[in-house]
């Protein structure tokens, strides 16, 4: 402990009192001490609560661990199974189904939520009666807590729930469905709930992006005889590009790590129809009493997310991010 005080002390005092032996490096040393002082605690927390668990998950994934495992279980050679947990996950049709569900939600988000959000944002960006109210209504679901929204939908979409009752009342009894109970349509219902929940956020982002599109360009184009649609198609949307690409990035990561909405409404059922990698991981790792196997699933989820994120950054975000987030992107 004392050694630390010695190493930090002089650097600090060098700044507060005139240095007896002025050195060219004194200022820099002080700066470094400041960095250590201010970044150190945060860095320690980050290492301890983020990096260490990630590394531990990697270690656990090579073991077959009992539900409440002790440290000595890691020293037991019989518990070391190498890549068997990974092989087991990749051979399990339920896990493959989960990965497929994740990527289906991902594609649907990009193909449906994106255009929908852009369209609504363009409409809301015009002078419109009740625009403020509309913006508020669209954003409310995003503000609502995930668990509350999920539970509400779960209750509404039960076979005897509010949605079916409403359809009956409207004389549309033929359209009633077991929305979350029918394995054939549960995932689509789930996507509808997710769209309801997250499209408001996308619209908000797009609206913010639209603020950055100079009005003069649209005016100039209009003077040249461009229609409203032509202005949007050739000027507004291309200039909205950076916003769209950032939104798509958030959407992709969100779709890959989808957990809470599914957990609250269906817990991955029925028959794995709505399970995602994350719900599968919790179901097997926490509730199935197999922390080692769950860790392997966590690592696979991490790797898939990492690869997708890196590829996207490299190819789609390269211009937007030049010099801002990573220096590696040129």
């Amino acid at each position: 402990m004392t050694s630390v005080i010695e190493s930090v002390g002089p650097a600090v005092s060098a700044g507060s009192t005139p240095a007896r032996h002025p050195r060219p490096g004194a200022g820099r040393a002080r700066k470094r001490a400041e960095i250590v002082l201010f970044v150190g605690p945060a860095l320690l927390l980050f290492l301890g609560f983020v990096i260490l668990p990630v590394l531990l998950a990697g270690v656990y994934s090579f073991y077959n661990l009992p539900q409440s495992f002790q440290w000595d279980d890691l020293a037991d050679p019989e518990r070391f199974v190498g890549f068997a947990n990974y092989a087991r996950a990749l051979e399990d049709p339920a896990f493959i189904r989960s990965v497929g569900n994740n990527f289906l939600i991902l594609s649907l988000s990009l193909l449906i939520q994106g255009p929908l959000a852009i369209g609504i944002a363009l409409l809301l960006n015009r002078r419109l009666r009740g625009r403020g109210v509309l913006r508020l209504l669209i954003f409310v679901p995003y503000v609502l807590a995930e668990v509350i929204a999920g539970l509400s939908w779960k209750l509404l979409l039960q076979p005897q729930g509010g949605v079916n009752a409403l359809l009956e009342a409207l004389g549309l009894g033929a359209f009633t469905q077991n929305w979350l109970a029918d394995p054939n349509i549960a995932l689509w219902t789930m996507f509808a709930i997710l769209t309801w929940k997250y499209v408001g956020f996308a619209i908000l982002l797009m609206l913010a992006g639209l603020q950055g599109v100079p009005e003069e360009l649209a005016e100039a184009a209009a003077i040249d005889g461009a229609s409203w649609w032509q202005v949007q198609r050739h000027i507004t949307i291309p200039l909205l590009g950076p916003t769209i690409r950032i939104w798509a990035f958030l959407s992709i990561i969100g779709a890959l790590q989808l957990f809470d909405m599914v957990w609250v409404t269906t817990r991955g059922g029925p028959l794995n129809a709505t399970s995602t990698m994350a719900t599968y991981m919790v179901e097997k790792g926490q509730f199935g009493g197999q922390p080692g196997f769950g860790s392997a699933v966590a690592v696979i989820l991490f790797l898939i997310s990492l690869v997708v994120a890196l590829v996207y950054q490299r190819f789609a975000l390269r211009r937007d991010l030049a010099g801002s987030i990573t220096r590696g992107v040129r």
């Binding site: 002790q70 209750l155 729930g161 109970a181 394995p183």
Partner: protein, 432 residues
């Protein structure tokens, strides 16, 4: 930043880390265990969060404090699943468990005993152990008692007497064939025969447990619990019987997505609103159904009968499936913990528990204090049972239990075979 300065930064950060660690180590010595001067704090975790029970446990804690000067009892109620699946396992693994807490019998108890987490109770409170009779067996490991159940009950059919009358059913089914006939009669009368909350998996799984209980001999069941050996043909037979029963379409529409106990559309809610005639469920169900009616009262039409026997099957027709809630002391708890447990199990407290209508007490003298006629019926069913098997998923532990329930729900959804269930169980057992 060049390489040298980076390494120096890392070194500095490491030094700072050691400094922080030693600081916390210094402060950790303070200790909170008190002891020595007779002042003792007992922490007690239970699952009473609503209804009459929180007040009863609070009263019990206060009375115990009064009778034992210098002892403080800190009791807290937590939501059941969270308590059993998350809070207690984490507290035990972290080495900082509460003194008195709820323990599920079977696999969970065995795991905790294997890790030396629990206090043996036979020498500390022998009278209390013997006061609950055979219901203590599931809380014993190799003849040593580690927990004592304060409530224990069996599963059976909760049914709507009015709907039964409407469908012209005069007597409750006593055999599987009669049950199938009743399902047919109800269907014909335009009534949903049976509600099941398959969305929560375990309520559907209980159907298979019942068939297994009645297909497998008690010896096979007992051997399965200790060896996790599921090679006997009776396990596949249970699935085949269930498959055949599913063929009669006894359940409500969309049962794969129905929860068991949340909201009016849950299986308990369908019972509460008279939209289904039967539900196979544990002894706690009248309270659940009561909580989901418009007036919050247990409906007058509610009745109870035990799961019928199956003719010609190897299983004991009067065997029942059941379970309960027990309390155990942590291995490091002060001896007063066992005294508190003995007080909780005293006839007086058990009678108050029974009178509250929250469940069936385990001390037989207290059973007379039951006021709810349905709970009395369940208690009689329990007394008539030749053999009580605890819920198979708790009996076999989380890993096998989870795989088993998944396999059974697949069969319910038409996405698996009876043999798949057994294979899933064997595969899961092999990873232990």
């Amino acid at each position: 930043m060049n390489r040298r300065s980076t390494t120096r930064l890392v070194a500095l950060a490491a030094a700072a880390g050691i400094a922080v660690a030693s600081l916390t180590a210094c402060s950790a010595g303070g200790g909170d265990d008190g002891g020595g001067d007779g002042d003792i704090t007992l922490t007690w975790w239970h699952n009473a969060t609503s209804g009459p029970m929180p007040a009863v446990w609070e009263e019990v804690a206060a009375e115990f404090e009064e009778a034992h000067p210098g002892v403080t009892v800190e009791q807290t109620g937590y939501q059941n699943e969270e308590l059993q699946r998350t809070l207690i396992p984490n507290a035990l693994a972290a080495g900082d468990p509460p003194d008195l807490f709820q323990v599920w019998p079977g696999g969970e108890l065995r795991g905790q005993v294997a890790n030396d987490y629990l206090m043996p109770l036979d020498e500390a409170i022998p009278d209390t152990v013997s006061s609950v009779g055979a219901t203590v067996n599931p809380w014993q490991v190799d003849g040593t008692t580690y927990g004592i159940p304060f409530t224990f009950g069996i599963e059976g059919f909760w049914y709507n007497t009015e709907l039964f009358e409407q469908a012209g059913i005069d007597e409750t089914p006593t055999t599987l064939d009669e049950l199938v006939d009743a399902v047919g009669a109800l269907r014909e009368a335009g009534i949903t025969p049976i509600a099941v909350g398959a969305g929560d998996k375990w309520p559907a799984a209980h159907w298979w447990y019942q068939f297994a209980l009645h297909s497998c001999s008690p010896e096979v069941l007992q051997a399965a619990e200790s060896d996790l050996d599921f090679t006997d043909d009776c396990w596949v037979e249970a699935g085949e019987q269930l498959e055949e029963f599913l063929g009669t379409e006894p359940f409500q529409e969309g049962f794969l997505g129905t929860p068991a106990q949340t909201g009016a559309g849950s299986s308990a809610g369908l019972m509460a609103n008279g939209q289904a005639a039967m539900e196979l469920m544990g002894h706690w169900n009248s309270g659940q159904i009561g909580g989901l009616t418009a007036d919050g009262e247990v409906p007058a039409f509610l009745g109870w009968f035990p799961f019928p026997g199956i003719e010609g099957a190897a299983g004991d027709p009067t065997a029942s499936l059941g379970g309960g809630d027990g309390f155990a002391c942590s291995a490091e708890a002060p001896p007063e913990c066992a005294e508190l447990l003995a007080y909780i199990m005293s006839e007086d407290v058990q009678a108050r528990f029974a009178a509250s209508g929250s469940g069936i007490p385990t001390v037989s003298a207290a059973v007379a204090s039951l006021e709810d006629p349905n709970l009395t019926a369940v208690a009689e069913g329990l007394a008539d049972s030749s053999f009580v098997q605890i819920w198979l998923d708790t009996a076999y532990g989380t890993t096998v239990g989870n795989a088993m329930n998944e396999g059974i729900v697949n069969l319910f959804g038409g996405a698996g075979t009876p043999a798949d269930i057994v294979k899933k169980m064997q595969d899961a057992a092999a990873t232990l």
